[in-house]
Symmetry: C2
Subunit: 460 residues, 2 copies
């Protein structure tokens, strides 16, 4: 560590003048030391995942998470903690999710019960539906088959993420339209149901949920995701017995919208209190698993950033907010509401930073900045690279903070190692045990370091 | 992917001329595609870990691993596969590893059975030893206490890895002397036994073994590692009852050295067959867990490099060898023997590449190169960075290949994300399930890409 400090100080002397440069490198070292030896974020995550569990927006467990978030933020001892009302949807998975099919091969009948979970927002089936399957790889292939090939059937989108995209987020982005639009596009041609291969790079039996968006002008048909393995098995079965009938029974249903809350801690700036820096993640999660990586990690890291800076005796120049956004997963209501209220109140944001890529080893930051600002940002590279932060790339920040874009100088996202994220994402396997303590803490330290630099040096 | 290819081709055109640069970028894309969609290394690792299991040098399971390695290399269909005899030690853990102590607190006796494992090479205790404990943090503190403070006691080195070193390998390197020298240094002052806190950054109940090196001029005392949690508990107990007696019973023992084998596959070069490139890892592991990250991952990745290049129809210019080294863990006999025989035979090595940092996301390469060669090496950065390979740093390669250093132009090590490695290293938790398929495959692809570039472009 001494060697890193020496290097940082040397670099700082050569680029920024002794006083500020040395102070920056020492402060960042203090932030890392605190984060790696005294942070509470891992224990916070344990509580959030194990005592509260998953927390779908609109659900009673999300109410509990909001109360926990408020208590936890109050304990930081900053200037004020408040709730911001947000209207959120209510969708309930219900008690029944059943799927089965029987195929004939070698003169025998083989009965299968695939691992399946309803997509968020799906309508239920008052009684089970049963239909034959048409397997397609893309929305384009669906359109080619048209009504003649689709009507009365269940459409099975069996398309995995592209393994060649090294950033798995890009692979997810490429497959995302199938989940978002697939069910309505299937309905356009008369399908009675829609099942998709889970959007994962893993090869396991976890089904991955996530929101689907119905097109209001088309019939709403039940929609669900099969696990990667169940998808492969169904595809094999269809090759052996293309006439097999798939049975699907879902009890999910939408309920009226209700009020929940963004929870906000505010720490007044000492020099520029009218300039705001927002740090956050989303408190809601899907209703399977524990939302540990998505986005419990971002929540506890954001809280830890403020806790670390506070415990180090830091006095922020700008006003720093930690925002626990509600309902990123199902319409981004928390992010939209926050941005709208900031605009109404005329709040000027210097920056916003989100962590929503999972609690993995941090590799740097994505950002949305203009050329001049980006040049300024990359001047911080020598201060951050010794901590393994090497990515300083433009494009992307976070879903919750993006609605601020018109009223913010800089949007940032914590960029982490992406390889494992979609193994867990939106599945029953996104649990506390999959988060590594040190990786989580390194992420929080990276975030606190960036917030410190933004607060100290700012952007013009 | 198309965008990456376009970028690579553009870069290649600007730096190296159209033909070679474009060929390089296309070949690397092919290597990644093959590695991420058709590689067998994950299934190889499953077999090695689950059907053979741990494989301490000198053990019957290492014999099985050698036979498996030979079969697997033969299936690659390259020019020849052969065994190279290596003399290795035999040390057996035996059937009994027991530790216990009782401390008094609040007027009661508390009996504890800490998680413990003998250090590799430790002598056993014909019958249980029992002695009081002296806790120290360092070899220096031991020396200060001297014979007066140590004699007749069990020394407890309770020093964790430094969490502030972002590269956990550096943290391990800093703590390593305690495991290597601690027991003999304790014996120098009359200790009757030595226990150490496991060399891990994890906070769990796995004890981590690893070699200790006795000083031949001092008494050999039994030596073992406690889990991180058991170390913390023992330290707390000592604060409450400094007179507590620790009981240790180990059945481990050394047996005569015997012959095992490096297993080598050789693929003759088409243009410079007298120039060699060696790729490898170590086939032996410790005798707890399954040696999945250490170094099953490096073994199956090395095999996959040759399989990938072969299946892509590549014709190497140099002669490429995959070497499955035996006994890195306990004296580096395989590496030393290989280098000595290469020297005797006058083999000229263009390069050697090792993977021995676990099957985690690759981040680049470490290397041992002179200034000119390093400059040449970094010219490949634009070809490799799109695949997340950003570290091109001097210093370090691999324990098995380092003995080649006098007769090789370039030594390279696959540099991976280090954060989780020492959670598993040398423990019962280093099992197949801890390795992520995609991360393992990305490592193999990175290695194959570097080998291709070295073979094509070489170093002068």
């Amino acid at each position: 560590m001494k060697r890193i400090l020496f290097l940082l100080i040397s670099l700082a002397i050569s680029t920024k003048g002794l006083t500020q440069g040395a102070a920056d490198s020492l402060m960042i070292a203090d932030i890392y030391k605190h984060s790696l030896t005294q942070a509470l974020c891992y224990e916070d995550l344990r509580y959030l995942c194990k005592q509260i569990g998953h927390r779908l927006a609109g659900s009673p467990s999300a109410d509990k998470a909001i109360a926990w978030g408020e208590r936890t933020l109050v304990e930081l001892g900053v200037d004020r903690v408040f709730r911001m009302p947000v209207e959120v949807p209510q969708w309930q998975r219900g008690t029944k999710e059943e799927a089965s099919y029987t195929y004939r091969s070698e003169g025998m009948e083989h009965e299968c019960f695939p691992s399946l979970t309803a997509l968020g927002g799906s309508v239920g089936t008052p009684k089970a539906i049963e239909a034959s399957i048409v397997e397609v790889k893309s929305l384009e292939e669906l359109a080619v088959l048209g009504r003649a090939g689709i009507e009365g059937k269940i459409v099975f989108f069996n398309k995995g993420l592209d393994p060649m995209l090294i950033n798995t987020g890009a692979a997810y982005g490429g497959a995302y339209p199938i989940r978002g639009k697939g069910p309505s596009e299937a309905a356009r041609y008369g399908a009675v149901g829609c099942i998709i291969r889970s959007l994962t790079l893993g090869d396991d039996d976890y089904a991955h949920t996530g929101a689907t968006q119905y097109n209001d002008s088309l019939a709403r048909i039940p929609a669900a995701a099969l696990s990667a393995r169940a998808s492969a098995e169904l595809s094999r079965a269809l090759k052996l017995d293309s006439a097999l009938r798939f049975r699907l029974h879902l009890h999910c249903e939408a309920k009226p919208r209700r009020t929940q809350y963004n929870v906000i801690a505010e720490w007044k700036g000492s020099e520029s209190p009218d300039q705001y820096i927002t740090i956050g993640g989303h408190l809601d999660s899907w209703d399977i698993g524990e939302g540990a990586h998505d986005d419990g990690a971002g929540i506890v890291q954001s809280i830890q950033v403020m806790r670390t800076l506070k415990q180090l005796g830091y006095r922020p120049k700008c006003t720093i907010r930690v925002v626990l956004f509600i309902n990123e997963e199902f319409g981004n209501d928390g992010g939209e509401t926050y941005a709208a209220i900031c605009k109404t109140e005329g709040l000027r944001h210097r920056a916003a930073l989100e962590s929503d890529g999972g609690g993995f080893t941090p590799r740097g930051f994505s950002c949305e900045l203009n050329d001049t600002q980006f040049g300024r940002f990359t001047e911080w590279k020598p201060l951050l690279e010794p901590y393994g932060l090497h990515q300083f790339r433009r494009g992307g920040s976070g879903v919750d903070i993006r609605p601020l874009q018109d009223d913010v100088i800089g949007l940032f996202g914590l960029a982490v190692d992406t390889q494992r994220y979609f193994d867990y994402h939106h599945s029953g396997n996104d649990v506390f045990e999959q988060v590594n303590r040190r990786e989580l803490e390194l992420g929080s330290a990276a975030m606190a370091s960036l917030i410190y630099l933004i607060d100290q040096c700012g952007f013009e």
